[in-house]
């Protein structure tokens, strides 16, 4: 079973990298980009076969390591 974790900055946390990417898109002529937020995607291969248990376990992984919940939100997808 595979899981995919999306880690993004919380709303209200300034994202200087996202702002730089937005600026660069503007320089390339892509108009109409109001905001860019940069995050990360983490893919995990799990031995667990029960989707509910897998999601609970990956959620714990996020809280303990994969995300810094002071500044980041996360979303877990079981594939």
């Amino acid at each position: 079973m595979k899981a995919r974790v999306y880690v993004t900055l919380k709303n209200g946390v300034l994202d200087p990298q996202g702002a730089a990417v937005q600026h660069a898109l503007g320089s390339l002529g892509f108009d109409g980009v109001d905001a860019v937020r940069q995050g990360k995607v983490i893919e995990l291969d799990l031995t667990e076969t029960d989707a509910v248990k897998a999601k609970a376990s990956v959620t714990q992984m996020c809280e303990k390591l994969l995300a810094n919940t002071v500044i980041e939100d996360f979303m877990v997808e079981i594939l």
Binding site: V13, L14, P16, L65, N68, V70
Partner: protein, 223 residues
Amino acid sequence: MRSAVIVFPGSNCDRDMAVALERASGVEAQMVWHKDASLPDGLDVVTIPGGFSFGDYLRCGAIAARSPIMRSVIDFANKGGHVLGVCNGFQVLIEAGLLPGALMRNSGLKFVCKDTEIKVETADSPFTNAYTKGESVTYPIAHHDGNYVADAALVERLRGDDRVAFSYRDNPNGSSADIAGILSENRRVLGMMPHPERLNDPELGGTDGNKMFTSLVEALVNA
């Protein structure tokens, strides 16, 4: 003063830290590998040096904060032990939950490496008793992720409890309220981005950093 320096793969200020501790105390610092399960007995202070532990993978300090030795460091701190984290060491202490807030990419997105004027915000701690509140010192900074993020409530709490140890005169990285270093609630854990251990000899350009280590000796040995 019996001290230890925790060494991770990618630490690069560990020897500077050891030299600074030894010069101030006259006792050789013990180097402790991150895979060790426990700290040596009888330590007065544990230091976490600067560098790029585990290549800054995932988040700066995130992997180091979960390494075997850190459980002992957290226990040591929770029992009232003194812990100093500089630069990557500050990032590790935050990731380990010993200090509040977060350290993010510098607001200017560039790695900043230069001497920086730092204001001493409190002399009331084992790390800063040799300073005068409000005095300026010059410490090098060298980091890509030193942008201290704290919401308004946390900044107010840190200030109200006199836990901001150092602030930048000219904010180089976008840190909330110009904060350069903070203390734990019991004032025995200090995390800071600037490097006092790198300025301990006239041949290195100055000796402003000595006060940090003479403060510790004063608090832990002479007091």
